[in-house]
Subunit: 492 residues, 2 copies
């Protein structure tokens, strides 16, 4: 099973692709750049959705749904947004097919050309703000806190499953506020939600921070981000939250009457995470045997494999397993008994390791006699024989411990690959070795661009919660004065 997967040390990128496909998470479809998310992969995404959705709602956010299509003219409204998004996208020009007059299947009906082309949404600020215009009159209508779970399309030339696909699934929150302060607070609240989710649910240590102006979302005054380190030392942007100022309100003329009766433009945020998180999950924790899933997101938390030679042994073992399963399910764990009788245990072990199931229980005839069970944990690949008494409590502890251990491992890995760096020669060398470098930066887009051109490294963020970076110094490239260090890395 695992021998079908390229080793990380051989080719990390190929390892990733192998893993996504062999573990049945996703595959390329026959439509260029679009993926099929397979049931096992989708089950993980559903868990992410459910947990995030609850967290959003706890902050007062409600879900809604806005159209898939955006009239082309909407993209001309917000100048910077156009530049960023109106380029590579799917354009609907016709609304009918007809039988080919030459009898070769179907062709586009030329008489069904749309008056105005429709763009399949790459993101929904424009259509949502054109809607909010009708929802907002007075200060009493604010704030509006809407989120939608949706598919979006950005025409990408080079695609990779989950990390970069033409169509992907995501949530996009769009909020409207009376004041700049409130909107900035909302943007911060939501990136905090993302960071908490990444850390606690995905076991992913992330650095929270501001993007440099160059790396902001098209149309944003500030972009907050969470950045994670993958096992090759590259950075992956895992979620962003934008303070959009009044740009969209002005473009779509969305004003409210304040308590003093004066007209004011509305302040905006937007924030999103996508199926890209699936890629982060795989790359951050997987090993050469396959996926390593944090229990909080594992569709199956405990798998049980019976070991037997004779049919009557099997029966007795399966019956014991059903009993254990009931107990674990009553505690809220998801459990599977692998009772396929055409496969050997070793094959099953390898398959569930590949799929990243956190805990595996094996029971053989001798275990049955002794009242024991073999408990294997996926994260450390270690096993021990335990008494069946108190197994429920033990599994609960074990799952907690695995969740924490996966986080700690990723955290330690990152910590050992983050360095302060004050020498440009050192920078050039270390950045290619998969390090996050904490460097002084003079705050100019020019320097940032030059560093990117020479090394491919970008400013991932100006950290706000993970490192103490505020200190005087000199820009690593230009030598000009700098007030704080920022995180440089090569990114996905």
């Amino acid at each position: 099973m695992a021998d079908q997967i390229t080793k990380r040390s051989e080719n990390y990128s190929q390892w990733y692709s192998d893993l996504v496909m062999k573990a049945d998470l996703a595959e390329q479809s026959q439509v260029r750049g679009c993926m099929v998310i397979k049931p096992y992969g989708y089950a993980i995404w559903e868990k992410m959705q459910r947990i995030l959705d609850d967290m959003f709602k706890q902050t007062g956010v409600q879900n809604a749904y806005f159209p898939l299509f955006i009239p082309k003219s909407f993209f001309s409204r917000e100048a910077e947004h156009v530049a960023g998004f109106a380029k590579e996208c799917a354009v609907v020009t016709h609304h009918r097919l007809m039988n080919d007059p030459d009898g070769k299947g179907v062709v586009v009906d030329p008489s069904a050309k749309l008056e105005e082309e429709l763009i399949v949404r790459p993101t929904s600020e424009t259509i949502i703000w054109s809607t909010y215009k009708n929802w907002i009159t007075s200060w009493r209508d604010l704030p509006i806190l809407c989120n939608q779970w949706a598919n979006v399309v950005r025409w990408e030339m080079r695609t990779r499953l989950f990390l970069r696909t033409a169509e992907f699934l995501w949530q996009e929150g769009h909020t409207a506020h009376a004041t700049a302060e409130e909107a900035m607070q909302e943007a911060r609240t939501m990136v905090d939600v993302y960071a908490k989710f990444a850390r606690e649910t995905m076991a992913l240590p992330v650095i929270e921070g501001h993007k440099s102006p160059n790396e902001r979302f098209a149309g944003a005054l500030d972009t907050l981000t969470i950045e994670a380190m993958m096992q090759d030392g590259k950075a992956l942007q895992a979620g962003t939250s934008h303070f959009l100022g009044q740009n969209f309100a002005k473009s779509f003329d969305v004003q409210y009457t304040d308590k003093e009766g004066k007209s004011q433009y509305v302040w905006a945020t937007s924030w999103g995470v996508s199926t890209r998180l699936m890629g982060a999950l795989v790359m951050a924790h997987g090993d050469d045997n396959g996926l390593v899933l944090p229990p909080a997101l594992a569709p199956i938390q405990v798998v049980m494999v019976p070991i037997y030679r004779k049919p009557e042994e099997m029966e007795a073992i399966l019956s014991k397993m059903e009993e254990i399963k009931k107990g674990l399910e009553a505690q809220g764990h998801s459990v599977k008994i692998d009772n396929r009788d055409t496969l050997r245990p070793g094959f099953k072990f390898a398959e569930w390791e590949l799929k990243g199931v956190p805990v595996r229980l094996a029971i053989g005839p001798r275990d049955l006699e002794n009242g024991t069970v073999e408990v294997h944990r996926r994260d450390t690949l270690t096993k021990e024989t335990m008494s069946l008494e108190g197994i429920g409590e033990h599994i609960a502890h074990l799952l907690d411990d695995i969740q924490k251990n996966i986080y700690q491992k990723a955290f330690d890995f990152r910590q050992s690959n983050v360095e302060k760096c004050d020498s440009w020669d050192e920078f050039k060398e270390k950045i290619t070795q998969g390090k996050f470098l904490l460097c002084h930066w003079d705050g100019t887009a020019e320097t940032e661009q030059k560093i990117k051109d020479e090394t491919k490294a970008t400013i991932r963020c100006i950290p706000i919660d993970s490192f103490v970076c505020e200190e005087e110094g000199k820009d690593i490239y230009s030598g000009k004065p700098s007030k704080q260090r920022v995180v440089f890395a090569i990114a996905y």
Copy 2:
């Protein structure tokens, strides 16, 4: 509030549109035929999704996700399916916009024309069966039971919120089986799930049955349906489940090796319900005051309105309400305290009636003294004063009772509007009065078409669980022999 809504007796169709908009369920977007589902409407849809999804999973179904786009050529594969679906649809022909050389916003980049046009999915049989081809080799790979929650697009000329929109949300299940019997059983299982959901959750009495060949899904050998009666006596098809035979397996060459080592084509089903259910919910239960929501789907089950003159009264009442709210929430009910201090109670009452909240509690200073509360139920518009003692238990019973009563009312209405009919003259008269007519039919498409041409009535279904229809007789139109009655009605 309710005076902004047209009365049902004046104009049922306008009443529906008024209600959908005034109750904040949905509105037309600026994109032709596409709706915006507003937070209150979406909250109901989310409840539907959650409950249906659990029911699907209990039958062994897993969720997955397939591409939004389908290559045009796929539509030429299954002949009947083409005829049914490849006509009015959104066609993507280009993948890039560029700045207008004349400086007028953005235009489609003519150099970015796609080699093959992509169709925004109107339904996903073709893309899914082209995927299943790679998933299925042996009998061991079967059955496959996948569902996806997705948006689909069918270019409709005349649209109505929820009932018929260009883009809508739905779930589509697609299953693959080794035998015809198993696939037929699956199609039946799923229509049974829909019927159970409609009856128990939506409080919607539905008639389960087979479609006549004319009314089948394009490419199906059998279509099962649930049909509901709206308050104007028209029928609304609320969900369908199709036995697709081997049509798609043959079109996409999906074969499996059976236990004897022989190649066999795979058998298929598909089944779906959509945001159309929202329309059914509104039209089946609403009244001239607004929505009437079954408690099982109400985003807010209990709303509390404080009645006071002085601030200190308000404080005491709200504090008591918080206490009641906690108790009700602990029982699993969703509760809202309407503490807006700029609106009069009467206005609030009307607003929550409009929004269909099942139970309203009002507490004034005298209630506080007496330990009582005024309990108002939305379905009957009646109220009574009750002791606060045991209020939790009372509300639980009341919600149950309301759920049952809404169903019973709709059931009684339908029963009083279903008739056996054996005279063509009578048929023509009664069918326009909003009756479901149980008539003999000779089983031919010709007769069915003639009846439709003359009266607009269609065969809604050949019932399997709601009426005893098997008896010898003569076709109501042709006079030819018939073996059973079928349901005729005018449909949405």
